[in-house]
Symmetry: C2
Subunit: 200 residues, 2 copies
Amino acid sequence: MKAQKYLDILREIKDVAFATVDENGKPQVRIIDVMIVENEKLYFCTARGKAFYQQLIQNENVAITGMNQAFQMIRLNGVIYRLSQQKEWIDRIFKENPSMNHVYPGESRYILEAFCIEQGEGEFFDLGKEPIVIESFILGNEDYQQKGFIINEDCIHCGKCERICPQQCIKDFVISQTHCLHCGLCYEECPVKAIVKRGG
Amino acid sequence: MKAQKYLDILREIKDVAFATVDENGKPQVRIIDVMIVENEKLYFCTARGKAFYQQLIQNENVAITGMNQAFQMIRLNGVIYRLSQQKEWIDRIFKENPSMNHVYPGESRYILEAFCIEQGEGEFFDLGKEPIVIESFILGNEDYQQKGFIINEDCIHCGKCERICPQQCIKDFVISQTHCLHCGLCYEECPVKAIVKRGG
């Protein structure tokens, strides 16, 4: 249940940014409420009249981000699906988020449809700590694409990268992946190109 | 200078969500600082090592959103360009945002590059007001694509839409665009299909 704690942070933030790709291939983003998180799944809803709804129906990929007051940021790249048993899910969402009754009183709630994310990959950034801390997590069986940089066997141990790193997160010719900002300064400055991108 | 006040809200929020489309056509989003707004332009920066930077170089379209404590939300769909005179812009950004020196001390700041948005279209949602208020704005000479719904001449004046609107924003067979949630309930329920999408 490692991912649950990151979803819990998104639920606490509640108003998070949901990005989609529209019919023209352009990015779109808006603030959406995280309605329920449980069992490493995230639930949200939107109204059938909205462009966001059309984008979800046409393209299952979403990217979510939010940051809390402690400067902890979550990023989640996930795959959505429309839930079956819509009425039950909308009723449950309204029960757990009673302020929704204010926006969609009475039966008008059923213009909303509920969606779930149970597969995805995410990152947690604690920007309030010094040095910053980065962790990654997985929902479902999604593969995790590693980011950032590593130092390979071409390293000549000159120490330049250690001196220039803005976060001072290189020690003994190893980049601390937990603290790396992914800024790329070491990658650019290494005199023998011994710093390469991970994953990719 | 109508758009300036909306950009000022984004600058006050400061940590806003920037969405892009990656090389696989998938949405990506992360929290980025709004560094400067002036003359209806918005300035931000990122490091050359980051995936965000690569996405900006490959695709000029970004979507931005943020919400403040008063539940005022801004959405901005814009086109970015990389500024010339990078050193001057990065120095100015660090002068106006001195906490950046903490993350990128000394010369390491020049791993960052500065970008500007001066064309785009946006929406302002005041979700803290009752009824909610929606306004749209334009940066530069971008065309504005209208959203939401209108009632056309096929209307039989049955009054069903007025009764079911969750925001009670239909009066005398006209939808108040300033207060409409774009939920689509009237569009779905009109017995003669006299409610149609705007823009299209």
